[in-house]
Amino acid sequence: MNDVLIEVRDLRKTYVVGLRRRKVEAVKGISFDVRRGEIFGIVGPNGAGKTSTIKILTGLMQQTSGEARLFGHPTSDVASRRHLGYLPEGPYFYEHLKVEELLVYYGQLHGLPKELVRKRADELISRVGLDHARGRALKKFSKGMRQRAGLAQALINDPELVILDEPQSGLDPVGRKEVRDLIFDLKQRGKTVVFSSHILPDVEAVCDRVALFHEGELKKLGNLQEIMNQNKQGVEVVITGVDANALPDFQDLRGVEERTSALFLDFAPAIDVASVTLALQNAGAEIQSVTSKREDLEQVFLRGTGVETAREEEE
């Protein structure tokens, strides 16, 4: 069984717009893989090339050059989509249908027999929490309910790979949590999930690996923890039992803050933690915690898109 479900090599997409046939390069030679069983996040600002890349992967668009494969098949091949489930951004469905009719329709598009599709539709409607709306036409669904119907249609063929484009867009915090829980549930069932999002805390909470897109380029790619640890911001040591005046002299100590009878010591990232903690203990301090401070994904995002750098230069 091939462990790499998505292979993208030097993918490019150029749009020709307007009467003057101006060329706009939306995707500029990106390459990445997505492995079986992982949750892979795609983040980036508007116009970064995320949706264009996803549309190429799902066969809705053709690339200008480069390769994109799903399950070893080129994305132009219908076979690449047999084990794929896809939820587009802000999905619309046939308003005249009820949710079960919708799921049966999509199941039949996969060539599945009606009896099997009905059974799966029944299970999925319960799983996404739409039992109460079975008899309602989709035009009477709220945005959150449509999103859940969309997730259900993406799973109707029991796919191995699920691609979700902004699945939490427009949802309230409860809705977002439900989507997060569903993504974790998919991973536990052995599915591979690719999802793009602007909501960075949700990406941080869920993803194993992340790709950061900006202006059509892939700026960062890798394990989420590694990316966030790349720019360690420092080490925080919390101690009790000693006064700030009695602290030894540390070259890398950037600041001391007293809070609720504990001292919070802010050290530069490159300290030797063992020698610092020994020195503090020798000075009579009780070590409460030692924490490595790192950037959150938002800071990585802003740095990767040059916004943070530009702001620092201005300052």
């Binding site: 749009y15 264009s52 549309k55 799902t58 066969g59 809705l60 668009m61 053709q62 219908v78 076979a79 989509r81 047999r82 794929l84 896809y86 939820l87 587009p88 802000g90 999905p91 619309y92 469905f93 046939y94 005249h96 249908l97 329709y105 999509y106 039949q108 598009l109 996969h110 060539g111 599945l112 027999p113 969309g150 249609q153 063929n157």
Partner: protein
């Protein structure tokens, strides 16, 4: 075995698209309104017949066939273009074409769906026309059935043109262009007269008329209103030729539509 499995899956997908198209059209308010006005116009033949001078039969045939043709074409063009365009506008097409269904199956499925719808519409209009004629105590000529049959063949071609134009043009333009082609296709005898005049005057544009004659669908040949009105004989081989011509023309037009749609970026 694998091939028959693939065939079965393909057939399921194609029929799913077709039946969903019929379902979507029938739940549309515009479809209902158009059908209502078609019924009104067919029923008006009863009043118009009374106003004619002992020409009730001719008026009844002309009005029922004309009304049925007019509204059947409008319904078919409207359904073909809006049902396709709505898929693009509302992006429901994203969730369909990301499934393992080739684009040609989607387009052909939409086409077959509209054709199924139009079969029901044409049969309904035929039965209503028969009811109107019987109510007036008029003879039901067998040419009436042939006329409605060839009307359906005209719709086979018109629907194919509408679907193909919908893949390349905005809905209003595609709609007008299809209606224009329908009207043009019913004016072949006038086209022949123009060509004859141009040839007599050695007009260099005369070959263009020949090209138009080949490209434009000859819908006039599928219009049996004259045969119906004057109760002329309709030979069996004509019906077979009409069927073959309609299927061939519609197939070629749909193939063009499939080729264009296959390359379309859904951005």
């Amino acid at each position: 075995m694998a091939e028959s499995n693939a065939f079965t899956k393909g057939a399921r997908a194609l029929s799913a698209v077709s039946f969903n198209t019929v379902r979507e059209a029938m739940r549309s308010k515009v479809f209902g309104s158009l059908l209502f006005f078609a019924i009104l116009m067919i029923l008006s033949s009863m009043v118009l017949g009374e106003m004619s001078l002992h020409n009730e039969q001719r008026v009844a045939y002309d009005v029922t066939l004309f009304s049925s043709t007019l509204f059947a074409v409008i319904i078919s063009v409207y359904s073909s273009i809006t049902l396709f365009y709505t898929e693009l506008e509302r992006r429901t097409i994203y969730t369909i074409l990301s499934k393992p269904i080739p684009r040609w199956q989607f387009l052909v499925g939409k086409y077959l769906g509209v054709q199924m719808l139009m079969l029901v519409v044409v049969i309904f209009m035929l039965l209503l026309s028969i009811g109107v004629l019987e109510w007036q105590g008029l003879e039901i000529d067998r040419n009436l059935f042939f006329a409605f049959g060839t009307l359906y063949l005209q719709l086979t071609i018109t629907t194919a043109i509408a679907h193909t134009l919908a893949t390349v043009a905005a809905p209003l333009l595609a709609g007008f262009a299809t209606m224009a082609l329908f009207v043009g296709g019913n004016l072949f005898s006038q086209l022949a007269v123009i060509k004859k005049l141009m040839l007599e005057k050695d007009n260099p544009a005369a070959p263009l008329i020949t090209v138009i004659e080949y490209v434009l669908p000859n819908l006039e040949a599928l219009n049996l209103s004259r045969e119906l009105t004057y109760q002329l004989h309709v030979p069996t081989d004509y019906l077979l030729q009409a069927l073959a011509y309609s299927i061939t023309y519609a197939t070629i037009v749909m193939m063009l539509g499939v080729m264009v749609f296959a390359r379309k970026d859904l951005s």
